[in-house]
Symmetry: C2
DNA sequence: TCAAAAGTGTTCCTTATACACCCATGT
DNA sequence: ACATGGGTGTATAAGGAACACTTTTGA
């Protein structure tokens, strides 16, 4: 709580002596739990070890290390707290209420991450302190009768659910819950789990077709007609190279249009 | 990349001794410059005083102060560097490349802000070191032949333009470039400036109608039929209270639907 | 032969867009 | 009278949702 910052222009000269908050990273790592009667979107929690809020279920988080990046920190938090290596994460929002952490001045950069259920269980099935909390109506069902998440992690989950639903309304399984090749039924079930809503099969097929590449291979073994396997089309290759808007149809004065 | 992270739980005990980056805030404050033949979206720059990157045009920015919030810091940066009080800002993204600032380890939280041209000039017209840089095709036209912005502020401007266009595609002038009451022509010209594209008048009217409240008052003085004045409808009051999706139309097994 | 799932054709309906027209005002 | 901008009705096109139907497999 020093009070020696009177010269705002001098702050550029050197950085020493300027206060800086601790930066934490929290990750809402999401997966699709297929064990129930229908697949459910869930968020992975871990039980806190000794220390602050000991024993509580919480999102995996970590303090950023010297000269590390946020995404690196987020991936290490997932690796250390959940035992899952090599996730991909994206920034969501910075939570900066100076009183959010009683231990001191800590800002938290919330991240979202996704992982397939297979990779999730193969790494965590032996761990007692990892739990996949299902999402019901934008909120988490917490284990052990716990009523709330520590800090404002409830808000982080809200952001994460909103963001993943936005992403899944545009593209086929951008979070790679499924492997590289999949049937349209598998894809639709994943999207239904994310959106927590029923999706009509034929409409869904036609919406997703432009973003899928048929492989020519087919599934087999189940009942019914074998389904073709598809692969995600990466956006860069298919996107039209958007014509420059710099000299576009402005000139709204009708003068030179008329003559 | 040390390899001595065996006790992740110990980090929760106290915060002292953990490294923390300096946190800066950069603001892309946008306005609509009406001085040209048609209004243009622009971003406000200021010329850096003595110190690092001295004399360069840059986005207003500032280091966060002890236990201050990010939005506060952003508003103070705008006040100190541009002379404009009481702007509203929103978070965009954290830029965390550890090498982005040669002075040390600094993360920058980019913000977007909006202000009416009137409030902008009434506060800055006497300042030499403030400039409204117009946007052309997602890029800024810099003054004095300057070729680029310092750090990765070019990227911040890209984020800001994309975000403001997203916001203006949904609601009438959410950034309050216009006063509380305005005609549909004024509103359309602002949206055209933001989107940098022509917008058809009748379609625009029908799109915006649900989000506008007619005042019953009319403009006067200009040529043509006087235009009604409208007011923004705030979203909370008009939104249908979204029926709970928790028990929604799942049950995709047709069993109990058929019987 | 039947049930289950894949995949497609078609109809219906909602929505966006453009065009046309009338209205009200200042010059 | 006419130009200018406000505002609305309507025709056309485009898109999405739902239904029906055929195909192909396992039991």
């Amino acid at each position: 709580m020093e009070k020696k910052i009177q010269l705002p222009t001098s702050e550029s000269h050197d950085l020493q002596g300027f206060p800086c908050p601790h930066i934490a990273v929290d990750v809402a790592l999401m997966s699709i739990d297929p064990r129930d009667e229908y697949p459910k979107l869930c968020v992975l929690l871990h039980r806190r070890g000794p220390g602050h809020v000991e024993g509580m279920w919480a999102l995996p988080g970590r303090f950023v290390r010297e000269r590390d990046t946020l995404s690196n920190t987020a991936e290490q938090a997932v690796a250390l707290k959940l035992g899952i290596q090599g996730t991909n994460v994206q920034q969501l929002h910075v939570f900066d209420d100076p009183d959010r952490d009683p231990r001191g001045w800590v800002m938290s950069v919330a991240h979202i991450g996704t992982i397939s259920w297979e990779r999730c269980i193969e790494n965590t099935h032996h761990l007692r302190d990892v739990f996949a909390a299902p999402i019901r109506d934008h909120e988490l069902d917490l284990p052990d009768g716990q009523s709330r998440l520590p800090y404002e992690q409830r808000e982080i989950v809200r952001y994460a659910v909103k963001e993943i639903r936005r992403q899944y309304s545009l593209l086929p399984d951008p979070g790679h819950f499924l492997p590289d090749e999949f049937t349209l039924l598998q894809l639709r079930e994943v999207h239904q789990a994310v959106q927590d809503d029923e999706i009509k099969a034929d409409t869904f097929r036609r919406e997703m077709k432009p973003n899928l590449i048929p492989t020519g291979e087919f599934s087999s073994g189940g009942v019914g007609k074998p389904a073709e396997l598809y692969r995600r089309r990466d956006r860069s290759s298919s996107t039209v190279p958007s014509l420059s808007r710099s000299t576009r149809n402005r000139r709204r004065t009708p003068v030179e249009e008329t003559f």
